[in-house]
């Protein structure tokens, strides 16, 4: 039977299932194969709040959304075109996001009376007509997988576990994905368990073959590669990019990397990744708590390493006092805050930008700390290198903000040439007479980095106010005033790139974003401009200090819209610094902005 092939310019697929069904892996593999094919893409994993909620229940649903296209895209897509639901819970949990007319592929085997009642379906949605306005494919994924593996010496349970690979194979057929990389991946992953390897490979191919032969699907789809700049690419998530950026930055600075960390969602992957990179001389220290983690990082920096600590909002709260110490000691330190929903434990697996004021001001005393925010998953790499630059050149703690959205999301990354990375080397203080630990570099205002082991530089530092130059304890009123102002001036004087404004049409309205809103804002700008609207875009990545031209940019636009995933924290900073009124657009649902809501909010301003 020959099947129709339809060309499409973009598709959004969501894989959803029980947290034990392997949906993240399935999504990851489909993403890698899509990347290899050359589509542009963006992903959005959605983890259940509970690690192992009872099987088949709504809290146990885990999903992975992938948007891929033959052109440049910015987000993981507002609404899926295709939902793959491995059980009734996955269907129920995701139906509200599915537009009418979209495609729904379900694992029919799981739609038993028992499973349906578990999630509150009184009748079977596959049979009661409630899905009439969707294209529904009920496929016995479990039994077909078990059937395909009948020849292998596996228990039923083991065989069933490969059903995600069956689904992956089927979708790979449907969207013409290459299969070599996934086969290679499976072979490496299960090399020690040959039967399980065979099961996964067979299920994957069986899924593909099923797609090709079944009458259930009459059409398959092609999405041509997106035009991309020349170069070598890979798919990259934010947390991985951040970890790599820290390694690269430390290498550029010729410093050993020391990470002190305490596990916390969604930052733990940075600890995991750096723990793997011992061959780079990286030392990771899983401390007893966040205070010890930052303390150890400060100790390592004092000894001449690039001390780093990674955490999320609740961990930042614990680290505050020690960060104040680092401000006083004027030693390099990077604090990575992968933000999540707050306050308190909040929404650990969801995204938010609500730690901004905490990192700016959440310390006792006048305690200025530079703040950087990554804008996309791959930008996490560049901003991590920048954090190393600022921390080492200015001898200061630096906050690097990411959040759950870009930390777990991924996009294609053009791999940088190592030679193109900046030289961040700074000199330690050398043996000298009459050493003054608080004498400053006239340009950067940085004090010397005098590491233990250097003869003649013996000196004492600490959290008590320092006398200018000598660093001795000082309670002198004038000295304290001077030192407070000097520390503030040092941070205010940090060199950061100017804000770039994208405004081809001479717009009156500027959408100003910061951090992870870059993708959604860009997507909205594209839609708005296509419809003839004039809008400008600028994106803040350097928050303390702000880019020097920010005030000038703000003054050019009568209307500035500032979307953020909090109740207006950046707006508060901008209003207070520039006395500029801002049209705040806020949302704290634990999810990134959708393109549609940003477009609507902007149109309201444009038309209002």
């Amino acid at each position: 039977m020959s099947k129709t092939i339809v060309s499409m310019d973009q598709v959004t697929i969501r894989f959803a299932g029980d947290s034990g069904d392997g949906m993240q892996l399935t999504g990851d593999r489909f993403t890698s194969d899509t990347a290899i094919l050359g589509n542009d893409l963006a992903t959005l994993p959605n983890y259940p709040a509970e690690i192992r909620a009872p099987t088949g229940t709504l809290p146990g649903v885990s999903s992975f959304q992938l948007h891929f296209a033959d052109h440049h895209i910015q987000t993981a897509g507002d609404a899926p075109d295709v939902l793959v639901a491995m059980n009734p819970a996955a269907l129920k949990a995701n139906m509200r996001d599915m537009p009418r007319g979209s495609t729904i592929i379900v694992n029919k085997d799981e739609f038993s009376a028992r499973n349906l009642t578990k999630v509150g379906y009184e009748t079977n949605p596959l049979e009661d007509g409630s899905l009439e306005s969707y294209k529904v494919h009920g496929i016995p994924l479990t039994s077909m997988t078990v059937g395909a593996l009948a020849h292998l010496p596996l228990s039923r349970k083991e065989a069933e576990r490969a059903k995600n690979m069956f689904a992956l194979g089927m979708l790979s057929w449907m969207y013409h994905r290459p299969t070599k990389a996934t086969e290679k991946f499976l072979t490496a992953k299960f090399s020690k368990v040959p039967d399980i390897l065979e099961a996964n490979l067979v299920a994957y191919r069986a899924g593909w073959n099923y797609g090709e032969t079944t009458e259930e699907f009459s059409v398959s789809y092609e999405i041509a590669p997106a035009p991309q700049a020349k170069g070598k690419y890979r798919n990259m998530s934010g947390n991985l990019a951040l970890a790599y950026g820290l390694i690269a930055g430390a290498q550029c600075a010729k410093l050993p990397l020391f990470l002190g960390s305490y596990p916390i969602t969604p930052a733990s992957d940075i600890l995991h990744e750096l723990s793997k990179q011992k061959k780079f001389g990286v030392i990771t220290f899983q401390a007893e708590d966040e205070i010890a983690a930052v303390g150890a990082a400060i100790g390592a920096s004092y000894g001449g390493a690039m001390g780093i600590t990674s955490t999320s909002g609740p961990g930042v709260a614990l680290k505050s006092e020690a960060i104040g110490l680092a401000v006083m000691l004027e030693l390099p330190l990077i604090i990575v805050d992968v933000q999540r929903g707050g306050p308190s434990t909040g929404l650990p697996t969801k995204t938010e930008q609500s730690d901004l004021l905490q990192v700016m001001f959440g310390r006792n005393g006048e305690s200025p700390v530079p703040v950087l925010a990554a804008s996309t998953p791959t930008d996490c790499f560049d901003m991590a290198v920048e954090a190393v630059r600022i921390a080492t050149a200015y001898r200061t703690p630096v906050f690097l903000l990411s959040d759950g959205y870009i930390a777990n999301g991924s996009q294609p990354w053009r791999i940088p040439e190592v030679d193109s990375l900046p030289d961040l080397h700074v000199d330690f203080a050398k043996t000298q007479e009459n050493f003054q630990p608080y004498a400053r570099d006239p340009k950067t205002l940085a004090r010397p980095w005098a590491v233990p082991g250097t003869p003649g530089l013996e000196h004492r530092i600490g959290g008590i106010e320092k006398a200018n130059l000598t660093g001795d304890i000082s309670y002198e009123p004038a000295n304290h005033d001077f030192m407070v102002r000097t520390r503030a001036a040092k941070v205010a004087g940090i060199e950061v790139p100017d804000l770039v404004v994208d405004d081809p049409d001479g717009a009156e309205v500027l959408i100003l974003g910061w951090g992870s809103t870059y993708g959604p804002v860009r997507a909205a700008i594209d839609v708005l401009r296509e419809s003839g609207a004039k809008v400008a875009q600028a994106h803040i990545k350097y928050i303390n200090p702000f880019p020097k031209n920010l005030g000038e940019v703000l003054s050019k636009y009568p209307k500035v819209i500032l979307p953020e995933m909090n109740l207006g924290q950046m707006a508060m900073l901008i209003r207070s610094e520039f006395l500029k009124d801002i049209i705040s657009f806020n949302q704290v649902r634990g999810l990134p902005f959708s393109t549609t809501e940003l477009v609507e909010a902007t149109l309201e301003v444009l038309n209002g």
Binding site: G231, A248, I283, A287, G299, L325, P455
Partner: protein, 332 residues
């Protein structure tokens, strides 16, 4: 061996010492300044890291590297330093409040990891710097500014606590006994890994005489039972013996046979013996010396062994290879 040419003066900084007159911290400082030349480590390779409290002023007065950090966190900061710089000799200076109250967590975890730190716990059984509140080592019922009708908490025994935290080296000594303190410092600095030194320290302002019962010139020889490896545990009047049921007890010499006195074994791996010793002291009779000194690889050594092992096996990391990953594609 390089000849040691430094003297006490070389380890004395130009800072004016600012403890109250008669504070026990003075004699500990003097002993340390006199001991450091003997350690044979160059000044620049020695680091003192302290928390907050009267005792934590200590680093300012030593001509070495030093950091006066924040309350309770010195073991954490010092851990990061000594793990990344195993070539340094790192001391932690802390108080009973600093180590056992606010910093209790870091204290126990540094010990269990066996991080290469010499932790000197100045135990004056009071919060000195904040002017006299009771501390986690104050005896129950203590009347202080914050406990006008007596404290209700059962105190910590730092030696017992350290043993529970898997410490490999624990000793107790006294501020005013220069010779004993020096001996303990010698043993502690020879030990690889964490060494906890509890120092009974008098605070004449807020808890004067806390240790008078064992410092008094006349009764002193009887009050201090010395823990010396391979020797009987005894003072001139008392000794430690093993009861029929196996438990240890302290008895007057007059009541026992010399032959029944327990011979100290500081190297015993099973910590229950040292723990039993740690429970024997009374107000008038105190065990001093090294309770436990057992060998276990230091945390920093293990960390570097892992890193070196990986590099030996896989070679040094190459950044370009790392960034390229295994799943890349080319657009031309």
């Amino acid at each position: 061996m390089a000849e040691i040419t430094l003297t006490k003066k070389d380890f004395t900084s130009d800072q004016e010492v600012r403890w109250c007159p008669g504070c026990g911290d003075y004699s500990i400082l003097a002993t340390m300044q006199a001991f450091l030349p003997e350690l044979g480590v160059p000044r620049e390779k020695i680091v003192f890291i302290s928390g907050i409290g009267c005792s934590s002023r200590f680093p300012y007065y030593l001509e070495t590297f030093g950091m006066h950090s924040i309350h309770g966190r010195a073991p954490a900061i010092a851990s990061g330093l000594t793990i990344s710089r195993p070539d340094l000799t790192v001391f932690v200076i802390t108080g009973d409040g600093d180590a056992l109250s606010i910093g209790g967590n870091h204290f126990i975890h540094a010990l269990r990891r066996n991080v290469d730190l010499k932790i000197m716990l100045f135990n004056n059984r009071i919060y000195g710097l904040t002017k006299g509140q009771y501390s986690p080592t104050s005896e129950a019922g203590k009347i202080t500014k914050s406990t006008p009708v007596g404290s209700l908490d059962t105190p910590f025994n730092p030696v017992s606590l350290g043993l529970g935290a898997e410490a490999t080296f624990i000793a107790r000594t006294i501020d005013s006994d220069r010779k004993h303190l020096t001996g303990v410092l010698q043993a502690a600095t020879k030990h690889k890994g964490s060494a906890l030194i509890e120092i009974y320290q008098n605070c004449p302002i807020f808890n004067d005489g806390a240790f008078d019962s064992i410092k008094d010139g006349d009764s002193r020889e009887g009050a201090l039972l010395h823990l010396i490896h391979g020797e009987p545990i005894k003072s001139t009047t008392h000794a430690v013996v093993r009861k029929a049921d196996g438990d240890l007890e302290m008895r007057a010499l007059s009541e026992i046979n010399e032959a029944d006195i327990v011979i100290h074994d500081a190297h015993r791996i099973d910590p229950t013996y040292a723990f039993a010793l740690s429970r024997l002291s009374t107000n008038d009779h105190v065990l001093v010396g090294v309770f436990r000194d057992v060998a276990r690889p230091s945390y920093g050594d293990l960390v570097h062994e892992q890193v070196d092992g990986v590099i030996a096996k896989q070679g040094k990391g190459d950044l370009a290879t790392l960034l390229a990953g295994g799943d890349s594609w080319e657009i031309s």
